[in-house]
Symmetry: C2
DNA sequence: GCATAAGATGACTTGAAGGTCATATACTCT
DNA sequence: AGAGTATATGACCTTCAAGTCATCTTATGC
């Protein structure tokens, strides 16, 4: 599971991606996503130092993506925010676990960790934006939607790390 | 990833399981595993309230398993210690993520979470103890062991959540 | 019953993540 | 230049997991 901070960043940037280049205010993003405004400002600032977003102060300013949405992967975001997931550590959280001196869950965990990392590499902000806008549309169309339908709507284009 | 506390508990109980019924002191377990002694005492106490271990004070006392090692799964331990993994929460850590209102990673995450939970159900303390004692033996036998060999030693009997 | 050995328990400390707030800085428009 | 609008930044607060420590309680053996 990603840190809450990283989760915020993905949601926020997904929203920015949907705006297609129009600068969004931190305030707008915050209100749309429910992320605390001041905290989001810090996250945006971190992302801008890493070049993932561009920020502009003053009238007409706001936040835009630093490069095309399809070129910003979830992994890039994790990496920019130094997410703990990328720092290793085995399932049982023991220091002394490595390929040489494995803990009981090591083999299992390596596999799962790899899948997660692959997932992060395979999905980018264009995917997130598409997913989000699709969900919004679907929700408008069907007032009483089934759980299955909701899952389908999500499944359509978001890449699952195969196997 | 499990909490550090849960990780401690698995290691400690695996060690207790290896003792085959002979009571072990918290001090012994702590020294053998490197888990901080006072903290381990608290964990053991929690586990004993849940019945996973039996404790005995006074001379000749110590910690034993509350039931046969094969009947204590990793899931039981997580559950006894209220591990965050069992509390839900999606990959992006957002509150508003459910099957109905999914976040972009929801489908991916549900699958992986299920695999993890299954893994916890399928592996018990007998498995952990067998794994650990096997590892110790293997390490004695080969001074210069390859990474592959080490992985094999672990792979032999520990169940991978299939798929 | 006393000495000793063990776990039990509660108060306290520490460190990191998450979050708030006041103020500084940079930009635009008139 | 000055007013107004944005992000930037650092100081601070809060919460929680992890860890320490002193003291209490319960057991055994003489």
């Amino acid at each position: 599971m990603l840190s809450q901070t990283t989760g915020y960043a993905v949601l926020a940037l997904g929203f920015v991606a949907e705006a297609q280049g129009r600068p969004l205010l931190v305030k707008e993003i915050s209100e749309a996503t429910g992320i605390p405004r001041s905290y989001l400002a810090k996250i945006v600032n971190q992302l801008s130092r890493k070049g993932l977003v561009a920020t502009q102060r003053g009238i007409g300013g706001g936040v835009t993506l630093g490069r095309p949405a399809a070129k910003i992967t979830l992994y890039d975001i994790c990496s920019a925010l130094d997410d703990p997931l990328l720092k290793g550590g085995c399932m049982l959280g023991t220091a002394e676990c490595s390929d040489e001196r494995a803990c009981p869950a090591h083999s299992f965990w390596s596999t799962h960790r790899d899948r997660q990392i692959r997932f992060l590499h395979e999905n980018n902000l264009a995917d997130v934006a598409a997913f989000e806008s699709r969900q919004r549309k679907t929700r408008l169309r069907e007032t009483r939607r089934t759980k299955k339908a909701a899952e389908e709507a999500g499944r359509v284009r978001f890449k699952e790390a195969s196997q």
